[in-house]
């Protein structure tokens, strides 16, 4: 974490990202959630449509994580400014390390 910025917001953001990613993983890791046949969707038992549905859900969750980590890590002037949170100062970033701090 080489960036400046309000530590509380930053920690909160990473916590949010961690939770979203954890939800995405646990959604299919915990098999008892979905190892059942009902409710059916059309002819599809729950076991199948739940997992297929979880693909776009995971894509959505990782996309959200991508967007918020990009926003947090790049309030830099070159990223079409104005997207940073109002309170976030423009950080003085080291020249090589202007990526996201994941």
């Amino acid at each position: 974490m080489t960036h400046s910025g309000p530590p509380r917001t930053r920690t909160g953001t990473w916590l949010l990202v961690a939770i979203l990613l954890l939800v995405a993983v646990l959604g299919t890791l915990i098999v008892p959630i979905y190892a059942r046949s009902s409710p059916y969707l059309g002819s599809f038992p729950f076991f199948y449509w739940y997992q297929l549905l979880w693909v776009p859900v995971t894509a959505l969750l990782t996309t959200i994580c991508y967007l918020i980590t990009t926003k947090v890590a790049r309030p830099a002037p070159d990223s079409q400014g104005g997207r940073a949170e109002p309170g976030a100062p423009v950080p003085a970033q080291p020249p090589t390390g202007h990526g996201e701090a994941l």
Partner: protein
């Protein structure tokens, strides 16, 4: 099968010829000034933007294993085969965390292989060799499995494959592979990167048509699931138990989730997938692709369902049964029986090309490991970039020939068993690589010993497992009952836990006795760096960068 369907065959040949031309022409794509550097041959100039990377990684991650082995598993045992969908779902949130760091440090230091990173991070030739060795070992049977996929298609088409008459029947496979070896040698990673566009397009077209057309032809999804249910409930004469189940049963849930998790952790430890990652031109390309790649998981889920469609399609189970009950043939037979022959040809081409792309990348990745971490490291320390590239080119040929010989002279089922073993092996490099992205706390020799013990454990544990209903056989499964918790667990994951425990304990010991830890050439900021590609590199960055600003 004596007759060959001329239409299917012609379409397959035409598409194969097209792909061959593209493969050889790819050498001119984004041509570099210094084409003899391994960055060029082995990583396509490290210049691929989001779009190309999406196709390349998609073409790389989803292999003949996806198109043949996964539906074969579902065809045979039902719900338990669906762990593959769960695994390709959870892999992206997991790699979202560490893959950008791996890309950054590799870009800063010009690492070409995962073992290069290990060498730089831990200052340890031994640990780097262990990682390189594991990578080559794990990827070889994976290449062989691609050939098995091609062979399944050829068998169903009646042109070679499961031969009783030897060499002549294997000739199509040999020719296909020699051509593949040729354009990989010439064009390096650019060949599979370009061909991936065709591959992925064919796969998407094939699966969209299949999931709409096949259920209409065979009587709807309700019928498909009900036939599958009947088949899975039937008793398997070999084991005396049901074939499987339509819904995962409580007894199999631990195996299901540990297989999914273990495979997800293993996926981006495979050298060919890391090669695809290192070839990207910017850090955000990796991060965006992690969000965009699940589109392929949806395809995998639908492809898995082809297994059930094959059960419900008239004539397909009988054909499979007539061919030594080889479930690998289920999907090709499904295409042959249900599709008009021109579209069956497209489906066959999708599988064959779908096997060629990852096979090429795997061979390149294994060859890079050899050239960088064995040849240069141990035999020719002063090898120039050009010499390393030559070594890598020839190694790619050797790797491919090895896989070819393996498939020709060893029983097909062994390729699948070794591929399972490959997963158990490769996940043992996870602690060194992923922990290394965050901390230098682990001692290099603790990691080496943890790795070695887990490798031996995994191999022995898998050796002791007979195939279901075939006592006395070996490497028949990759899950085993863990005594203490009394659940069935993926051996790879058990090995990983053993690996981690040993690494932690020995690190404490080695640090206490002050064993030298090795020099670390990386610095914290390298792991978040996003260096502009050097001006000398032929990299059109503008498009990707502009797109990113829009998204961000």
């Amino acid at each position: 099968m004596s007759h060959i369907n001329a239409v299917s065959f012609t379409i397959l040949i035409v598409l194969f010829a097209l792909v061959t031309c593209i493969g050889f022409a790819a050498v001119r794509w984004r041509r570099a000034e210094d084409s003899l550097h391994l960055n060029e041959w082995g990583l396509g100039g490290r210049g691929f933007g989001s779009f190309v990377t999406w196709f390349l990684l998609g073409g790389d991650l989803y292999t003949a294993y996806t198109f043949i082995a996964v539906p074969a598993l579902v065809y045979g045992i039902g719900a338990a085969g669906f762990f593959t969908l769960s695994y390709t779902i959870m892999v992206y949130p997991i790699v979202f965390v560490f893959l950008p760091r791996l890309w950054s440090v590799a870009r800063v230091h010009g690492y070409i292989t995962p073992a290069d990173f290990i060498h730089g991070r831990y200052g340890s030739r031994g640990l780097a060799l262990a990682v390189a060795f594991t990578g080559i070992l794990a990827v070889m049977p994976y290449i062989a499995l691609q050939l098995v996929g091609i062979q399944a298609v050829l068998t169903v088409m009646g042109i070679g494959g499961s031969s009783t008459t030897g060499f002549v029947h294997d000739l199509p496979l040999i020719i296909a592979f020699l051509i593949l070896a040729g354009y990989t040698f010439v064009s390096g990673l650019r060949a599979p990167a370009l061909i991936a566009f065709i591959k992925d397009t064919l796969i998407y077209v094939m699966i969209i048509v299949a999931v709409i057309y096949i259920p209409i032809r065979v009587g709807g999804w309700g019928h498909i699931f009900s036939v599958a249910d009947t088949h899975l409930k039937a008793t398997n004469p070999k084991t005396g138990k049901p074939n499987g189940s339509l819904i995962e049963q409580p007894a199999g849930m631990w195996a299901y989730s540990t297989l999914a998790l273990g495979s997800a952790l293993a996926l981006f430890m495979y050298p060919h997938n890391i090669t695809g990652v290192f070839a990207a031109n910017r850090r955000k390309v990796i991060r965006r692709n992690v969000a965009a790649l699940p589109a392929y998981s949806l395809v995998l889920g639908l492809i898995a369902l082809l297994g059930y469609m094959a059960l419900a399609a008239p004539g397909v189970p009988a054909e499979v049964k007539a061919h030594d009950a080889n479930a690998q043939l289920a999907v090709p037979f499904l295409f042959q029986r249900i599709f008009p022959s021109w579209f069956a040809g497209i489906g066959f081409a999708a599988i064959v090309i779908g096997a060629l792309v990852p096979a090429a990348i795997m061979a390149i990745a294994a060859a890079n490991l050899f050239a960088r971490n064995i040849y240069k490291e141990y035999f020719r320390p002063n090898a120039s970039a050009a010499e390393q590239t030559k070594a890598s080119q020839w190694a790619s040929i050797v790797v491919k020939l090895g896989a070819l010989l393996f498939v020709l002279f060893v029983k097909q089922t062994y390729a699948i068993q070794f591929q399972l073993l490959g997963g158990i092996w490769i996940v043992q490099t996870f602690p060194a690589i992923v922990a290394g992205l965050y901390t230098r706390w682990f001692h290099r020799w603790a990691l080496v010993i943890g790795w070695a013990v887990a490798m031996v454990f995994g191999t022995i544990a898998a050796y002791r497992l007979p195939a279901p209903g075939e006592p006395g056989t070996h490497f028949g499964a990759s899950v085993d009952t863990l005594p203490v918790i009394n659940h069935t667990i993926y051996i790879g994951l058990t090995g990983l836990v053993i690996n981690l425990v040993i690494s932690v304990v020995l690190t404490l010991v080695f640090r206490a006795v002050k064993l030298p830890g090795g020099r670390d050439e990386t610095r914290p900021e390298h792991y978040v760096a996003d260096p502009e590609p050097a001006a000398a590199e032929p990299v059109p960055v503008a498009a990707g960068a502009a797109g990113a600003a829009g998204v961000g």
